[in-house]
Symmetry: C2
Subunit: 340 residues, 2 copies
């Protein structure tokens, strides 16, 4: 095998006839060494190779250049896009990222917090999930940044999200402006703050435009119900019940697509008979037929804002504006499913 064995600092020191301290200084460019020494050490390194043993460095420095991402399920385009962007950001800064899928399981989340604590991560990014954050379990006071997850007020826990209320409002308003009078919503029953806020935006829009919020048109799916299939079945039932409706706001794009298919299969035309709008703007909303109007979240910005925040917190800086909560604007995307 052609493995370079990689020397330790001690071995380099011996070969270069300097002390380990000096080698360490050169490697980390910490000053207090002469150019001459630098060259001598560098030559040895170039010749024999050196790779930092991060275990040792972490042990000594009590930090690891590593962060953890807690996420419900990475097999979800919206989450995986966030994770992708976060990982990109931290790769640039020389951090590695632990991926931690919780499957919405509290036990797994707790286990991961412990593991991350044990592995000395310097910070944690939490995507979605409940208000409860098992920070009490941690032995070190590392910063935590939440995305789309409203944490209880904890020390060193920050929060960035899209404006879901505004998104819910815009989506509903779009349906109203396109002439819908009886607008249904398909969302989730669990009190995830995100869905809650979208629902409130929906209600407020109806109110502002003097439309009634019919209880029987507010479909709150069970947490266990899959986005697409669950919604499809729910809408099929709604159709069979003969309760009239002419617009549907689905609180994510897979749900919206479920609505479209359910309607189409029941010979209800979208958008002629019923208009539909989704949320998130994932690729399928653009690719499907008819294409889905939706609310675009600026995922990349969200990821960058959250990552930048976490990084500065890990560096011991206070966020510029000293805010613990950041809200990013969303945008209405008009496509075929809400055409007049």
């Amino acid at each position: 095998m052609d493995k370079k064995k990689s020397l330790s600092i001690k071995e380099i020191a011996k070969l270069a006839n300097v002390s380990v301290a000096t080698v360490s200084r050169v490697i980390n460019n910490n000053g207090r060494f002469s150019e001459e020494t630098r060259i001598r050490v560098q030559k040895i390194i170039d010749q024999y190779g050196y790779r930092t043993n991060m275990a040792a460095k972490s042990l000594r420095m009590a930090k690891s250049k590593t962060v953890g991402i807690i996420v419900p399920n990475i097999n979800n385009e919206w989450f995986s896009l966030l994770v992708l962007e976060i990982e990109k950001y931290f790769f640039e800064k020389n951090y590695s990222v632990f991926i931690c899928n919780t499957s919405q399981t509290e036990a797994k989340e707790i286990a991961y917090f412990q593991s991350l604590d044990s592995k000395m991560v310097d910070g944690i990014m939490c995507i979605s999930g409940s208000e409860e954050l098992p920070t009490g379990i941690m032995t070190r006071d590392i910063p935590i940044v939440c995305i789309d997850r409203k944490p209880k007020n904890h020390h060193n826990v920050y929060y960035v999200e899209s404006n879901h209320y505004s998104g819910g409002y815009l989506a509903t308003e779009e349906l109203i402006k396109k002439g819908c009078k009886r607008i249904a919503i398909v969302s989730r029953n669990k009190s995830l703050s995100v869905n809650q806020q979208r629902l409130e935006g929906y209600r407020q829009a109806l109110k502002d435009y003097g439309l009634e919020a019919y209880d029987e048109l507010q479909i709150l799916l069970d947490v266990s119900s899959p986005n697409y299939d669950g919604t499809k079945h729910a809408v099929e039932k709604l159709v069979q019940s003969n309760i009239p409706f002419d617009g549907v706001f689905a609180t994510n794009d897979w749900r919206a697509y479920g609505v479209v298919v359910a309607l189409t299969e029941n010979h209800i035309r979208v958008p002629q008979d019923v208009k539909v709008i989704g949320f998130d703007d994932i690729p399928i909303s653009y690719a499907c037929h008819p294409s889905l109007s939706t609310i675009h979240q600026n995922t990349k910005l969200l990821a960058q804002k959250a990552s930048g925040l976490l990084l500065s917190l890990m560096n011991g800086e206070n966020p510029v504006d000293n805010e613990k909560h950041y809200i990013l604007p969303v945008e209405l995307i008009q496509r075929d499913s809400t055409q007049i």
Copy 2:
């Protein structure tokens, strides 16, 4: 703050009036301590809390209970499903997983190999990508398992994949059996072994059934071309060129969906006029309209096989059958896009 500060082994030893060695033995359940001692130590731990400092443990043991996953882009349902399953598997075994997106960039891949090496991962999983594997860069001889990536013959590098040749054959055969005579293929031009094998399956099927493999019906997209849009445009061009065809094998589901939309928008009916089949069986193939026939890869099994293999290699075991290459069967899924 309610942070338990977590004692070190040394502190526990003092409180329990035993030596650090004994505490270590109790914690790791390594035997050579009395039940009485165990209880005494455990009591202290229960009372004050203890969290292993994995940096120290890794340093000492030269292993980290950590693996890296190298993947082109996690924002791709097929990859993210693999990653999800791999992560699940290793979570059960108390391993953490570093996520490493390469964006198909060799430089990023190399940087990640170095970083993983530095962070003392015990093994690496490589998903997709080129034959080249920068193993020369590593300073330790840790096992590597590739999924859908055919590595050059390296020591300690293993390989598991679906039977892509068979998949290509089955897909093409399905079109043939449903009456197609002029069957196009849309794939990728880069010599990714996976696509290459699917293409060969296609060619062999045509041959076996005595059909011609028209060059002008073999569309090989550029690597940079996005799956959906790229395919859509390519098929639009094909339609405009007036070259006749009655079946299309797209080598992944997003491409297949691009085919369907391009045809539909050109008033060519699927499956009546042209039949279409995809590959991978991701959710969209089931959800879209008309639903897509496709080749199902047993992703979960793939992930588990690869993970189990990596785990046993990390444990220093030789794989049972001493094979370095495993091929898993695929399955034809018949849906509407190839109906007669």
